[in-house]
Symmetry: C2
Subunit: 352 residues, 2 copies
Amino acid sequence: MPGTAEGVDVPSASDVLRRCRELVRPALVDAVGRLHPWTGEMAAYALGWSDTTGTPEPGGSEGKGVRQALALLGAEAVGADAARAVPGAVAVELVHTFSLLHDDVMDADALRRRRPAVWKAYGTGPAVLAGDALLARAVTGLAETPSDHAAAAVRRLCDALNDLVAGQAEDLRFEHRPWHGPGAVGPEQYRSMAEGKTGALLGCALALGAVLGGAPEPTVAALDRAGRHLGLAFQAVDDILGIWGDPATTGKPVHADLHRRKKTHPVLAALAGGSRAARELGTLLASSRPADGAAAERVAALVEEAGGRAATRGEARRHLDAARDTLRATALTRTAARELDVLFAGLADRVR
Amino acid sequence: MPGTAEGVDVPSASDVLRRCRELVRPALVDAVGRLHPWTGEMAAYALGWSDTTGTPEPGGSEGKGVRQALALLGAEAVGADAARAVPGAVAVELVHTFSLLHDDVMDADALRRRRPAVWKAYGTGPAVLAGDALLARAVTGLAETPSDHAAAAVRRLCDALNDLVAGQAEDLRFEHRPWHGPGAVGPEQYRSMAEGKTGALLGCALALGAVLGGAPEPTVAALDRAGRHLGLAFQAVDDILGIWGDPATTGKPVHADLHRRKKTHPVLAALAGGSRAARELGTLLASSRPADGAAAERVAALVEEAGGRAATRGEARRHLDAARDTLRATALTRTAARELDVLFAGLADRVR
């Protein structure tokens, strides 16, 4: 639904996402078509285009395509045609899909967008292979882009990939750290993990659009920074949904992150307070009993009471503000900057 | 042990491999050091540098480093200093390690170089992650190489990666194909799989050395072709060792590939013959009983009797000859060409 700001029509976040998906779709279909037919089938399933028999499932479980949209808007924001960013959009979308496939294996997440995860539907080995194929195809497509900026774009994508994998490594290592005391996960370590795991690829998407659009390095760096802040806001929102999200909306079980005893921002923030609730929470988490329904319910209530939910909402708001401020401080074309602002707000709006 | 050919001292294959490993080692250590410490520890274990506690295990279970050697010799063969190919050598060695980590997950191979595979030692998720980290680091290092040829090198590596993953996909799909009849795996399909799975990276290693050494495209293409033939010879040898190899040498259980009912060259070649042994073999394989020790023994004997072992030895010899012929038909510097020839022969010598 279009709104108006300063007298100019501004499309809604979902309008922006739809327009970008339509622009990128043919190139994305082409990229998946270049895979081995079997990995291509798994990729099409992961992208929500088809079911496990390869039968098209139009509009079924497709992702929003945030990363591809950021890539196109990154190019438009620096005055280039969105078409120049399409190879970057395809690359980040494929890398995102790769990371979902492999992360679901590592986290033993059985559900993804309300359907069985690829490893559940096809097996662990095939899911690993399909992820590898997507990653290889992502870098290849970008490296083959007929543009003077292709090599710089590949370096950007590689940097994001390393950050993404390091962030996932940090996140997995958090499981082995104590809930409190000397070895506990501090706020800075949490932020660094989330920036790698979620921020790096969002920043890269925007930056790739700007690189392929021929923007100077300071503009590229600013867009990367804005995307990383967006990622931190996005992750904070995701952490809130991982505890209090409605399963009908999130497609995940209630209290999913608590059952998995994940060290997410709300829990860590709650533990950092010195309240009675924080202490009870600490004791409860330190006990090695598996978190059944009632225990998870109690943990969620204590996290909220100890201020964890509010702190994470604050974290999301701060990073969303920082992301928008970064955009405003950068010389960008007016229309794309507005669309980015709408998109940013829309992505962090899920809990505001 | 040095030998002489045409009156010139020629080092042995293991001399060549050792010299190349020493040249590449500092850059390889640096690359692994750039990984997240946890993935770095798994990478060091996979490379045979340390045990699962991170304690150095010098000379323990290190690979021969065939791919890194091919990269350096590829540069020397086109008249460039080996140092120029070091980033390519690091890249192919990291990609090889990535593929071992992920393939062992996909194939449920518990042993690698006489030690538990990474997924056995660290868990499946961590092994997948470490593979991802190695792959990302491989492409990054090459993309960041300060050379006019870096972008071309990245494209070469990407092409090999896609072939490698497609080859692994083909190999996994073979499991679901019948042993004989209309849907059976034909010799051309087997060759295409093996060329992707094994040949692509060996060809890429040689080609990368030549690319980074500034060689013209026809020379690069010829070296790539030679490496692919070498890969097919290597795979044929590997298939023979997978059935008849001495566990003390291969580090794998006796008849390993038969227990896993893998569709390898000796078995497929044996089935293709029309002899009585071939028919009995077909009946035995078509029965869905698990292959116990006695059954595997009988299968191995029938494969041999039906000519599968000889056919595969012939396949290895043909591709080794084609690889050497390709080298000889290419204008290369004399010393490097000789060392390549020695190395090629050494690699396929394991069953000659």
